[in-house]
């Protein structure tokens, strides 16, 4: 009996078993067990997903900890008077479930990069920096700076509490919908790469 035929026979037997009604377990047991297994699976899945959505997880790798995280520390989104802190996923992972899963699937490329050491040194990071930043600018431009607006909503802004020039520019460009946050606020949380040729503002 050749190998192919044997595998085929096993597959057919498995298929027949799966197709057949349960012989030993009652319908009640299967329903309850399926429900419990579903709860456990979904709970576990979401717990694991949220575990990858923390600052601790992101800065577990030297690529993030030594480069972008160090730069974030001095900015207003990390150290400020009110003690509210934006963590990595607040800006870099969509909060909406479907978009979050899509972003997490994209992140498998980053796992690949981690395993094969695409960014092992500071120099390699600086070489890649413009490409990496361009990805994030394009994403925020495409979703109209959604991750900014999760906290900074134009309709909730009290323009009178802003400095006059900030209020004026926000009203002129953000209020009319002509520009979105990332158009002017590139480099708000990390240092900018060489910006020659990149439109700002």
């Amino acid at each position: 009996m050749s190998l192919v035929a044997r595998v085929r026979a096993h597959a057919l037997a498995l298929w027949r078993t799966l197709r057949a009604p349960s012989r030993h377990y009652s319908l009640g047991f299967l329903t309850v067990a399926g429900f419990v297994a579903g709860v456990l699976f979904w709970g576990g899945f979401n717990t694991a997903l949220e575990a990858t959505n923390t600052e601790r997880f992101c800065t577990g790798c030297h690529e993030m900890r030594d480069n972008v995280f160090e730069e974030l520390k001095g900015t207003i989104h990390y150290s400020n008077r009110s003690g509210v802190r934006a963590t990595c996923p607040d800006c870099h992972v969509p909060h909406d479930w479907t978009d979050k899963i899509a972003r997490k699937m994209q992140a498998s490329k980053e796992v690949w990069g981690k395993i094969f050491g695409s960014i092992d040194t500071r120099e390699e990071f600086l070489d890649h920096r413009l490409v990496l930043a361009t990805h994030e600018w394009a994403r925020l431009k495409a979703n109209d700076s959604l991750e900014c607006r999760n906290c900074h909503d134009y309709d909730s802004m009290d323009l009178t509490r802003q400095s006059p020039r900030a209020a004026q520019v926000h009203k002129l460009w953000l209020g009319t919908g002509e520009k979105t946050c990332i158009d002017c606020h590139k480099g708000i949380a990390h240092r900018l790469p060489d910006m020659s040729g990149v439109p700002q503002g």
């Binding site: 009640g28 207003i76 400095s163 020039r165 520019v169 002017c184 708000i188 240092r191 910006m195």
Partner: protein
């Protein structure tokens, strides 16, 4: 009933859902009843942040704010950067204008120049900012360049913010207009 097992399975799932919901609700109430954790007793005594500052107190070293050299004074409170966006008068005609707004976190290095985002000639109208003077586009041979001259690139070399800190050293400077306005000043 044509499909009794299906109805039973659906009923079971519904019942379990209700049970899980009730269990979650009860656990949630249990956690909420504990209330906030009481504040820790014996908090450290707040440090007096006021400086011993005597303006014009006759001390030689104004930076020590009158504190004897063998003692350590409390640091003065941090001064706030004036952010009113009102242009200030120049003390003399060639003075680089001071910056009337906060510039926290502005990146000015070989990669990017945050000041020029608004103050470049091309962007001035967009942001309603005063464009930098044409002299800033000239090299040392007075030839005009397309972009800001490298020798003028680092704005903070000449232009600085102002804070509300009290002046440490008295200054008797008077600008030329007040000198001229004096009786017999224009002679």
């Amino acid at each position: 009933m044509r499909n009794k097992p299906l109805a039973v399975a659906a009923g079971l799932v519904l019942l379990l859902s209700v049970l899980v919901f009730v269990a979650g609700w009860m656990f949630g109430r249990l956690g909420a009843r504990h209330g906030p954790v009481p504040a820790a007793a014996g908090a450290p005594v707040p440090v007096d942040a006021r400086a011993v500052f005597v303006p014009g107190g006759g001390q030689i070293d104004a930076l020590r704010r009158g504190v004897p050299v063998d003692q350590e004074g409390h640091p003065p409170p941090l001064a706030r950067v004036e952010n009113a966006d009102l242009r200030r008068v120049r003390a003399y005609p060639m003075q680089p204008p001071t910056i009337p707004h906060a510039i926290d976190g502005y990146q000015v290095d070989k990669n990017s120049n945050r000041c020029m985002l608004c103050h470049a000639r091309a962007n001035a109208a967009t942001f309603q900012a005063p464009p930098v003077s044409v002299t800033h586009y000239m090299d040392r041979d007075d030839q005009f360049l397309a972009t800001i001259s490298p020798r003028r690139y680092f704005c903070n070399q000449c232009h600085v913010v102002q804070t509300d800190a009290p002046t440490l050293v008295a200054n008797g400077f008077r600008d030329i207009d007040s000198v001229l306005a004096q009786p017999g000043g224009g002679q």
